[in-house]
Structure formats: structure tokens, C-alpha cells
């Protein structure tokens, strides 16, 4: 039986992803200089920002594939869309976890309504609704269409939420990324390596989830055929 990992291309992808992840860990803890005031807490910056990149890239893929699904009515786009939604939401959850981990020693409190973190929280809640629609909004053929529309609305909403939250609490700032431009190049080099490494993880997870999604879809089709006779 063919599995995701029995495909040559995926084996190569997994190997490269793992290799990059290992090198990434080594770079972050052994090579990158320690920032004076934050010490080890600063290290989370190498995870947190790439996680955010992955989540928002994932949500963009959700909206694009949702649009394709609505126009072309081809279920393959819906399988992509669901895969991207789940992977992106997993990354969003990780952002919501790593944010407070960093903030606790640096800001002295675990949650502050920092704009990017708040936007992620709102998006996370929107996508909880998205998954509820997939579950509870009727048969698959209809709920997938509804979910696609919500996926598109969510992408339109991202810049608006970000703008609103930024203007809403201008006193809350000092996000890890804010000081990017002032970072020494030793830190930036490691950061961009980490960004690339995490993008590989996103691609790998997306392909894997899509593969499983397609299997589930085919199995349901086969089951439907059996039940019908």
C-alpha cells in the first residue's frame, strides 16, 4: 500500500526539512549571539516570527484555494483549503502559546494586547467558527462552500483587524519583530535561516495533510458508493 512517505519526493522533502530543523536548532542556541537584556528569552524570536509567517501564509492559501474551489467546483481545491486551514490554525495556536512565553519574563505579564498577537487571536477564533461550519452546516457539498466563503472573508478581514488593533492600543508595543532593523547581522542571518526552515515545515505539513485529506475524500466516496447500492 502506498503511503505519503513511500513517495520518493516526500522522503526527500522530509529529510531536508529535518536536516534544516536540526541545523536551525544548533544555529539558534550555539551560533546566534545572546542578546544582553533578554538573554535566552530572546531565542523564542527565532520561532515566534516564523510561526506567524507560516500561519498567515497558510491563511492566504486557504483563501486562494477557497476562491478556486468556488469558481472551479473541483473538490481538490477544497481539500487544499481544509489542509491549509488546519495547518495554519495549528501555527496560530503556537503563536498564541509562544507569545506569552516570551512576554512573561520580558513584559512581566503573560498576555498583553499586542496588535499582531491580538490579530492572531481574532483569526484563531474566526477559524474555530470556520471548522464549526464545516462540521455543522449541513452536508459536505454545502458546508464546504460556506467554509470557502468564510475563508475568503477572513483574509479580507486580516488587514482591517490588524489596523484596528494597532490604532486601538498604541501604547502596547515592543514586539520582537519591531527591533528587526536594528538587529546585528549575525542575528538576522540565523533568523532568515529559521524562517526558511519553518517554511519547509509548513510545506511538508501542508502536503501531508492534503494527502490525508484526499485519502479521506476518496474513502468517503467509496463508502457512499457501497451504501448506495
Amino acid at each position: 500500500m502506498q503511503t505519503f512517505h513511500s513517495i520518493r519526493r516526500n522522503q526527500v522533502l522530509l529529510a531536508i526539512t529535518l536536516l534544516f530543523a536540526a541545523v536551525n536548532l544548533w544555529l539558534i542556541y550555539e551560533v546566534a549571539p545572546v542578546v544582553a537584556k533578554q538573554e535566552m528569552a530572546q531565542k523564542i524570536f527565532y520561532y515566534h516570527v516564523p510561526l506567524a509567517w507560516n500561519a498567515f501564509l497558510g491563511y492566504t492559501i486557504v483563501a486562494v484555494t477557497a476562491g478556486l474551489y468556488l469558481v472551479k467546483q473541483d473538490p481538490k481545491w477544497d481539500i487544499w483549503s481544509l489542509a491549509a486551514a488546519e495547518v495554519a490554525t495549528a501555527f496560530a495556536l503556537l503563536i498564541l502559546m509562544t507569545g506569552p512565553i516570551w512576554a512573561t519574563p520580558i513584559w512581566g505579564k503573560s498576555w498583553s494586547w499586542e496588535p499582531r498577537l491580538t490579530t492572531t487571536l481574532v483569526l484563531f477564533v474566526i477559524f474555530l467558527g470556520y471548522f464549526m461550519v464545516r462540521e455543522f452546516a449541513g452536508p459536505y457539498e454545502r458546508s464546504s462552500r460556506y467554509a470557502a466563503v468564510i475563508g475568503i472573508l477572513a483574509l479580507i478581514d486580516i488587514p482591517l483587524i490588524l489596523t484596528a488593533v494597532t490604532w486601538w492600543a498604541p501604547e502596547v508595543q515592543s514586539h520582537p519583530q519591531m527591533e528587526m532593523a536594528n538587529q546585528p547581522s549575525a542575528i538576522l542571518r540565523v533568523f532568515f535561516f529559521s524562517l526558511f526552515s519553518f517554511t519547509l515545515i509548513l510545506i511538508y505539513m501542508l502536503l501531508y495533510r492534503r494527502y490525508v485529506g484526499a485519502l479521506v475524500y476518496r474513502r468517503k466516496i467509496a463508502q457512499g458508493e457501497i451504501d448506495h447500492v
Partner: protein, 246 residues
């Protein structure tokens, strides 16, 4: 069984000048196919019965043709105009009467019908409205909100809506289900009148006697396909097809 399936895919008895042609209509619920590949065509002036067991997809097919439900596959054209596209003009030529008659309970019969005609851009004709109320036994009730109407009265009102509207094809889903004997015979007369006027009707009915009496042709929907069809069907023939389903 095999021969029936083979026959359905190569449906040939399409009338030469079809009013409506549907090909390869497919629809699933939770990836369970209800309609697999439904193809049929109807000629102008035909009255056609769509029959099959409960749950075989009769209502689904009518809803798809009416544009209420979205099919996953298939094309259809009405008077050479594509259905299932964003161009909605084909709906001028088609009217649909479902199990439940599509009315606003708080509105009176008159308000409901006026609204329906306005949406279809048909002018209001008080005289024919009064005549139809008379014929369908709803006189003097036209200004009551329809929430006090019985199921049978609602169905009669739905038929008045069809009488007042302009259309070439009517899709009737179980039009006799709530009608009494008088109402059913009234509908029979109306169907005959529509036939002479060259209007096409596709209807479903669980009453094989009534169905056979009024249909020029019957389409047997089975396993998501038009499995067979009968010209000038009789009730025993229809029942035989139904009980012969495996």
C-alpha cells in the same frame, strides 16, 4: 438489470424539439451520490411524471432544475438558454411548486401572489384572480394571512400562483399530497388545460393512479439515473416498475 443501466446511459427517446434538456446531472449528499447521471428532455406541451421510490432523489432533481439546489455535475438548457449559470433570465420561463408552497405566513393570499408576480414581472389582473379564487374554492379568504390556511388551501394557493404566472415549464413536487379528491380532479383539469396551451409540466406523485391518468410519459428515477421511461403509462405498469426495483 444490466440492460436497464445500459439503456439509461444512451437515452434516445428525446423529443426532436425539446423545451428542456438535462444531461449528466449529478448530486451527492455527504459524498453519497443521490443523482448520478440524470439525463432527460421534455417537449413543449408534455405532461411528464417523475416517479421512483422514496429517497430516490425526485425532490432533489426538481430542486436542481428549479435552481434552488446546486448540482455537482451536469448541464441543462431551457429554450436554448443555459441553466446553472449566473444569468438568471431562464427563470422567467420556469416555475416551481414544492412540497411546501413558498409563502410568507404573515401575508394574505393576495399579498403573497402580488409579490410573486412582481418578482417575475407579471402585471396584476384582479378579474382573473377573483375567477381563480372562485375555481379553487378560496373566495372571500384572499385577505386573511395565510398562516391560518390549511395545508390543502396552501397548495391550492400555490396552484393559483402558477395559473397567474407566465412560464413554459412548471416543476410540481407532489402537488396532490395535501389536496382532497375535489382538489386533485381540479388539478387534473388544469393539467389538461396547460397541455392544450402547449405548456410543459414535470411532476412527482406518490399516487400512481392519479399520476398515470394525467401523464403523457413517465420517467423512472432509480439509482440516480433515469432507469427507464414509459409512454402513456398505466397505473399497473408504474407499480410493476416500482416493485420490480432491486
Amino acid at each position: 438489470m444490466q440492460c436497464l443501466w445500459a439503456r439509461s446511459s444512451g437515452l434516445t427517446s428525446a423529443p426532436v424539439t425539446a423545451l428542456i434538456t438535462a444531461t449528466g446531472i449529478g448530486k451527492s449528499f455527504n459524498l453519497r451520490p443521490v443523482l448520478r447521471e440524470v439525463s432527460f428532455s421534455l417537449a413543449p406541451g408534455e405532461t411528464v411524471l417523475l416517479f421512483g421510490r422514496n429517497g430516490c432523489g425526485k425532490t432533489t432533481l426538481l430542486k436542481i432544475m428549479a435552481g434552488i439546489m446546486r448540482p455537482e455535475r451536469g448541464q441543462a438548457s431551457l429554450d436554448r438558454r443555459e441553466l446553472f449559470t449566473s444569468d438568471c433570465r431562464w427563470r422567467y420561463d420556469m416555475i416551481y411548486l414544492g412540497h411546501r408552497p413558498s409563502l410568507y405566513p404573515a401575508f394574505s393570499a393576495r399579498e403573497n401572489l402580488r409579490l410573486s408576480l412582481r418578482l417575475r414581472r407579471v402585471g396584476w389582473d384582479e378579474t382573473s384572480f377573483q375567477n381563480l379564487l372562485e375555481r379553487y374554492g378560496l373566495s372571500d379568504r384572499e385577505d386573511e394571512p395565510v398562516e391560518v390556511y390549511s395545508e390543502g388551501m396552501l397548495q391550492r394557493l400555490g396552484l393559483i400562483r402558477l395559473e397567474l404566472s407566465r412560464w413554459k415549464l412548471a416543476l410540481l413536487d407532489e402537488p396532490t399530497s395535501a389536496l382532497d379528491a375535489d382538489g386533485a380532479s381540479l388539478l387534473g383539469e388544469t393539467l389538461a388545460r396547460w397541455r392544450t396551451a402547449g405548456r410543459t409540466v414535470l411532476f412527482t406523485s406518490h399516487d400512481m393512479l392519479w399520476g398515470a391518468e394525467h401523464a403523457d410519459r413517465a420517467l423512472h428515477l432509480q439509482r440516480g439515473r433515469i432507469a427507464s421511461e414509459l409512454a402513456s403509462p398505466t397505473a399497473p405498469e408504474l407499480l410493476a416498475r416500482l416493485t420490480g426495483e432491486t
